[in-house]
């Protein structure tokens, strides 16, 4: 299941409901991404006041659904969930949540990492950080391309 939303989410409630009732499940793994309070901009650390996430409605949902489908092809998942927020967030706020349930832990762990790695390079979101010295768009990192590439994804040079 995928959800793109402005409002916050309750990790505990999400974890109990997304795979409820399936007693074939032996393990549930999840990852939560949070807004940090510091950002390196032009080589120095800046304090983040807010972070605003912009996205491409329509394509975002389409890409997240494709990424989730790919995870379900690669691992025997009983359930999976991706939640990604947009709008203006503050340090400490939750941005993203992925959870995977499977009969065994390895599939659940691996699928969570895969979802995050592919989402980082494929889902059309952009972060604007408002710091004490003004606003700056977060730049994409080569390390994210490399993280996605380890799952067999070509790096994103166009």
């Amino acid at each position: 299941m995928i959800r793109v939303q402005e409002e916050d989410f309750d990790i505990g409630a999400e974890l109990t409901t997304f795979c409820a009732g399936d007693t074939s499940i032996g393990g549930v793994a999840s990852f939560t991404g949070l807004v940090r309070d510091m950002a390196p901009i032009d080589g120095s650390a800046r304090t983040i006041k807010t972070m605003t996430l912009e996205h491409y409605p329509g394509m975002t949902e389409k890409k997240l659904a494709e990424i989730e489908a790919e995870a379900n092809k690669r691992w025997p998942l009983a359930a999976s969930l991706i939640i990604h927020r947009y709008g203006t967030l503050a340090p400490g706020d939750q941005i993203v949540f992925v959870a995977c349930a499977s009969a065994h832990r390895q599939a659940a762990f691996d699928a969570c990492q895969f979802l995050m790695d592919w989402l980082k390079t494929d889902a059309p979101f952009w972060k604007l950080e408002d710091t004490d010295t003004g606003g700056a768009w977060v730049e994409a990192r080569d390390s994210d391309d490399k993280a996605a590439a380890r799952w067999g994804k070509p790096e994103t040079a166009s």
């Binding site: 912009e54 491409y56 389409k62 993203v96 980082k120 889902a123 952009w126 972060k127 768009w137 166009s158």
Partner: protein, 83 residues
């Protein structure tokens, strides 16, 4: 055709989307970018580093040699930074 811009491309161009009729001479994403750049400084600034820009036609990532037609939804944006 509908063209959408996101993040700093949207800011430089000063619009999040626009509807326009494609001239007959424009058949590819690359051709569209050349044509947009000729429309003004905001576009020229937005597309200054063309090699880093990503393009999507009808919400699918494409290379810049991909064909475009008047019925398409085309989006231009910087590398994505979600998660």
């Amino acid at each position: 055709m509908k063209i959408l811009y996101f993040a700093w491309m949207r800011q430089r161009i000063g619009a999040s989307n626009e509807d326009m009729d494609l001239p007959d001479s424009v058949n590819t994403v690359d051709g569209l970018v050349d044509w947009l750049i000729a429309r003004g400084d905001g576009y020229a600034q937005a597309f200054a580093k063309r090699e880093v820009i990503r393009a999507a036609v009808n919400q699918e990532y494409v290379q810049f040699d991909h064909a475009v037609t008047n019925g398409d939804e085309i989006a231009f944006f910087p590398p994505v930074t979600g998660g």
